[in-house]
């Protein structure tokens, strides 16, 4: 092994780079000639060396060994000098496999891709991050992952030792405490000072990220810890990953829950992030069917089949005598409604939507971890029984307890209740179909028609909706038959714009190896935050179909500002100033084509929609991304 220290090589490199740069900046021919002479001399010196150069085992090689030991399939990254050594180790030492480096054009896109990937694959994607500037770009996406309880493992390069920093870039891109930037919305972070410290913290970080409630973690990597050669004889060790079993609810509390549910006249299961896997979805169906209980799914995860007869509208909460809330940080908002008499709609103290005496039970891992600054936990809701546990881990025991308590009499009562709920579900479905017909032939396109035309062409394929199912007025959720866990990925958690496009690309990447057709209902405003992620999809051959909800505005904001104009008795008609995206109207087909996608549009005639979907799906089935720019109704 080569013994010389890398810093001397780096000094040579910097000296040469500085000389060349000075010549270029000054536009000085003499200096440029001098620089060329220096280059030639260095090249001659190198060629005349008697010994061949043997590979250096750098600190980043060991770091990569650690990262590989954790089973990452991909690492998403926008390149940056503070992790250049790990970058090089990943592609050369590691052969760019497990993890494979994904070229991202923005750090927010990198983390959001990791977010979307997890929601399909159930395993985290790593992200490499460039010091202070990369972390600032990534902060919003890390916040979304935090709010959505999604594990993302961020490795951030940082030039910790000021005496090693050589230029303006090194200075501006380093931080005293690089994890501090995002500490309010990560589960854990660390700044290792040795390679063995890195190994322990990486394994610990992965374990923490994956333990419910899951969340992002950040590991700082000193630039020179990465770049320096590993000293001869240094003993390095990668600890074994010991995954933590998700916390299960206390057996006594679970038994009490079962008793309340079985004896209830009208129990309702309110699910937010209840199912973490396909198994969780099956438990949800099993519990609901045993009890013939109504299920209200807030669709933050694929908690319950959309066409199951027990899937009900949230209004059933008003009839409930027992409500079982699962992993819901916004329980207060779910069970309290707006006070209609309030002079400031939306800011009222609220009034309970529940029947007097209704019992509230909560099973939530969110009770086991919380941060202070960001307020995604919602308002405090009093409950009758609070079980701090992971829902999916607790459901099997709850199901067993419920089974033990069901008597023939109760079973008959459950069946009668189930029949009424099935009838209500059927009526709701018929209403949906009637509403879907409104404006069916209109232009701009009705969002219901876009969803229906898509459904007709994917329903017999193995499909996955890689965007929120309540987008486009929830028409996908209302018209499509969601029954498998991977068939939708829920929402962003933070309700922030800019998540959807990159998360969809990450989810589509996860779907690729299973041969699924990935469908993204893509909002126009969201796409323009990270359009570069389309290039990443092309570059990495990620097939997906993006169908635009192109209403040429941030329409929710239009409505919000209109509401304020009305409240202030001023001109409601001016509220598209600052909210519309229509002058010029963005030609999304051209944008996508420029980034290597097959694209058609703008499509404004509903009759053109079906054939366009057919052509685009053929492209996707060939393994390429495609986009249809469908100009839609506002909502």
């Amino acid at each position: 092994m080569r013994k010389s220290h890398l810093v001397s090589d780096r000094r040579d490199f910097l000296k040469l780079a500085a000389t060349s740069a000075a010549a270029i900046v000054a536009g000085n021919t003499a200096s440029a000639q001098q620089s060329e002479t220096s280059v030639a001399k260095l090249a001659t010196d190198a060629a005349s060396g008697a010994e061949p150069l043997s590979p250096v085992r750098a600190g980043s090689d060991f770091m990569l060994d650690v990262i590989k030991s954790l089973g990452f399939e991909y690492v998403a990254a926008n390149p940056g000098s503070s992790y250049r050594s790990l970058h090089e180790s990943t592609i050369n030492y590691g052969g760019n496999r497990n993890p494979e480096l994904l070229t991202c054009l923005h750090e927010e896109a990198a983390v959001a891709m990791a977010h979307g990937y997890f929601k399909i694959e159930g395993r985290p994607m790593a992200a490499y991050m460039y010091g202070s500037v990369g972390m600032q770009h990534a902060a919003m996406a890390i916040y979304s992952a935090y709010c959505d309880r999604v594990p993302v493992v961020v490795f951030v390069g940082n030039d910790t030792d000021m005496t090693n920093r050589s230029d303006r870039t090194d200075m501006a891109h380093s931080a005293q405490d690089v994890g501090h930037l995002v500490r309010d919305f990560t589960k854990w972070d660390d700044t290792p000072v040795s390679l063995n410290h890195f190994a322990e913290s990486a394994v610990r970080g992965y374990k923490i990220a994956m333990t419910p409630p899951a969340g992002p973690v950040v590991l700082a990597m000193d630039k020179y810890l990465q770049e320096r050669a590993i000293p001869d004889g240094m003993k390095l060790r990668i600890p074994k990953l010991s995954p933590t079993t998700p916390p299960e609810g206390d057996s006594g509390a679970v038994a009490e829950t079962a008793k309340l549910l079985v004896n209830a006249e009208f129990p309702v299961i309110l699910a937010e992030r209840a199912a973490r896997t396909e198994a969780g979805l099956k438990y949800m169906v099993q519990l609901a069917e045993l009890l013939q209980a109504a299920v209200v799914d807030t669709i933050q995860r694929m908690n319950f089949p959309s066409r199951h007869p027990l899937n009900q509208d949230i209004r059933v909460l008003a009839d409930a005598d027992v409500i079982l809330s699962l992993e819901n940080p916004l329980l207060w908002s779910a069970v309290n409604g707006e006070d209609e008499q309030s002079p400031l709609p939306g800011r009222s103290p609220g009034r309970s939507k529940l029947k007097p005496g209704a019992k509230l039970i909560s099973i939530s891992s969110l009770d086991l971890f919380s941060r202070s600054n960001y307020q995604d936990l919602g308002r405090y809701q009093e409950v009758d029984l609070s079980i701090g546990a992971d829902t999916e881990e607790t459901l099997p025991e709850l199901i067993e307890q419920v089974k033990r308590l069901i008597t023939p009499d109760r079973k008959r009562a459950f069946e009668a209740r189930g029949a009424k709920l099935a009838a209500a579900h059927q009526r709701a479905q018929e209403q949906n179909l009637l509403r879907a017909s409104y404006g069916w032939d209109g232009s701009p396109l009705s969002t219901a028609r876009v969803a229906a035309e898509l459904w007709a062409q994917i329903k017999n394929k193995d499909w996955s909706l890689i965007s929120r199912s309540d987008g486009m007025s929830g028409w996908a959720q209302r018209l499509w038959n969601f029954e498998k866990y991977y068939q939708h990925i829920g929402q962003s958690g933070s309700v922030g714009i800019g998540y959807s496009a990159p998360a969809a690309v990450g989810a589509a990447l996860a779907n690729r190896k299973y041969g699924r057709i990935s469908i993204n209902l893509q909002n126009d405003g969201d796409l323009m935050y990270q359009p570069g992620v389309m290039w990443t999809a092309t570059h990495h051959r990620i097939p997906m179909l993006a169908v635009m909800h192109n209403n040429r505005a941030y329409n929710t904001e239009v409505m919000q500002v209109e509401r304020m104009a009305g409240q202030h008795h001023r001109d409601v008609g001016r509220c598209r100033i600052g909210t519309a995206i229509d002058d010029p109207a963005i030609d999304f087909a051209k944008v996508a084509q420029g980034l290597g996608w097959y694209a058609e549009g703008p499509i404004t005639d509903p009759k053109e929609l079906g054939p366009a979907i057919r052509r685009a799906l053929a492209v996707v089935e060939r393994g390429e991304p495609a986009l249809l720019d469908t100009v839609t109704q506002p909502v």
């Binding site: 807030t298 509208d313 949230i314 209004r315 409604g337 707006e338 209609e340 709609p345 939306g346 179909l433 009637l434 879907a436 017909s437 409104y438 404006g439 069916w440 032939d441 209109g442 701009p444 028609r449 229906a452 035309e453 459904w455 007709a456 309540d470 987008g471 007025s473 929830g474 959720q477 018209l479 309700v495 922030g496 714009i497 909002n523 405003g525 909800h549 209403n551 941030y554 329409n555 929710t556 904001e557 239009v558 409505m559 919000q560 209109e562 509401r563 304020m564 104009a565 009305g566 409240q567 008795h569 001109d571 409601v572 008609g573 509220c575 598209r576 909210t579 109704q633 506002p634 909502v635």
Partner: protein, 134 residues
């Protein structure tokens, strides 16, 4: 689309609430309009094309769709509530709809009303193959 947290459920509730309030408003406004001498349920002379333009100009389409087929707000097309109730509701609505007060002149309201009535009926969902067996 925007980032604000107008979730699906709250929108549905708002729509439902609006629809109920609109129907309640009909009776109240009929009584008021009779007091002022205007015949209930009638509109001034009207211009459909001007109504379409005014519907867009005043931002009505943001919530109700370009053809009043509904969205975040209720469906208005084809069979709007009686004209006087309509006027009253636009001027002083309940819940989340912005109160327009006197921003929209009577004539424009009449035109918008005519526009909404003129929108052709949507096809029967049973006659739409994509909805007949989704």
């Amino acid at each position: 689309m925007g980032r604000s947290s107008l979730c699906r459920f709250s929108v549905q509730l708002i729509v439902l609430g609006l629809a109920m309030l609109l129907s309640l408003a009909v009776a109240a406004v009929s009584a008021r309009s009779q007091k002022s001498g205007a015949p209930a349920g009638t509109a001034p002379a009207e211009n459909v094309e001007n109504g379409r333009k005014a519907f867009i100009q005043h931002g009505c389409f943001s919530c109700h769709g370009f053809s009043g087929e509904g969205g975040a707000g209720p469906r208005l097309a084809q069979n709007p509530i009686p004209f006087q109730a309509f006027v009253q509701y636009v001027r002083r609505p309940k819940l989340t709809m912005p109160p327009f007060g006197t921003q929209v002149p009577d004539q424009e309201l009449a035109d918008i009303y005519a526009f909404l009535k003129s929108i052709p009926p949507s096809p029967d969902p049973k006659g739409i193959p994509l909805l007949a067996n989704p």
